[in-house]
């Protein structure tokens, strides 16, 4: 058994943001994945979904379900991250006031993804986009 689900996330659409993560959580519950692992994926995926809505020009989340691992790929079409090391620093954020008034923009999302995923990879090209791949082992 191995398949993929794809969810589009629009820039600035804070009304819809979170829908993809909710659907992913629901899917994993139906698959019978353990709650502990669902929570890790839900949190990491939601951080990624919010980053797409807040920082990117738009993108998508792909959930790939494999035999003993789940892969979340979060990719967008720009603007790219100029300094990944800086972006990965806890507390660094370029989020504006609107985002902060919603309760985000603490500069914690990327490190929280690292914390929750079993493997985390990020690549970014200016004007091309950012791609994050996270793996989660399911026992």
């Amino acid at each position: 058994m191995s398949y993929e689900l794809v969810f589009d996330v629009k820039r600035g659409d804070f009304d819809k943001a979170g829908e993809a993560s909710r659907k992913i959580k629901h899917t994993l519950q139906q698959l019978g994945v353990s709650n502990r692992i669902i929570r890790k994926i839900s949190i990491a995926g939601y951080e990624g979904e919010m980053n797409l809505a807040i920082h990117s020009l738009g993108g998508k989340i792909i959930l790939a379900v494999g035999e003993n691992k789940l892969t979340l790929t979060i990719e967008d079409v720009g603007p790219g991250i100029p300094d990944i090391k800086l972006a990965m620093t806890e507390g660094f954020s370029t989020a504006g006031d609107e985002v902060r008034s919603m309760g985000f923009g603490a500069g914690m999302g990327l490190t929280n993804m690292v914390k929750n995923a079993d493997a985390f990879e990020i690549t970014s090209e200016i004007n091309e986009g950012t791609k994050i791949v996270m793996n989660f082992i399911i026992q």
């Binding site: 993560s21 929570r39 839900s42 995926g45 309760g103």
Partner: protein, 116 residues
């Protein structure tokens, strides 16, 4: 304690998820920063917050929070309450400020839902 006791102690009004009033809760997490809830909150906690947007619900759902208390008299709009019903999560609103809510619940035995 039971969520019905949380409601009584905070003199709160239940908005959604009344069916969960008999559920037990042992820990709480209070803040207006959802980033921190996602990083530091232990699951199963009652989330106390002064924000009332949709992302509060999404955060609570992803982090497996037990319930949500909107403090300082905040009440989410109907669309957001509808989403809370869909999620089947208990939400309530109280006039008290966050500091008072946390103090009262702590005094009655609720612990902090700190991950570490």
């Amino acid at each position: 304690m039971k969520l019905s006791q949380v409601r009584e102690l905070l003199n709160a009004v239940v908005l959604t998820g009344e069916n969960h009033l008999d559920d037990e809760v042992y820990v709480g997490f209070g803040c207006d920063l959802m980033s921190d809830v996602l990083c530091y909150a232990k699951e199963g906690a009652v989330l106390l917050t002064g924000l009332s947007n949709k992302q509060v619900l999404n955060t609570a759902e992803m982090a497996n929070m037990n319930s949500i208390v909107f403090v300082r008299n905040k009440v989410p709009n109907n669309e957001i309450l509808e989403l809370a019903r869909e999620m089947d999560i208990l939400t309530m609103t109280t006039k008290l400020i966050l500091f008072e809510c946390c103090g009262i619940l702590y005094e009655h035995g609720l612990k902090g839902a700190n991950l570490s």
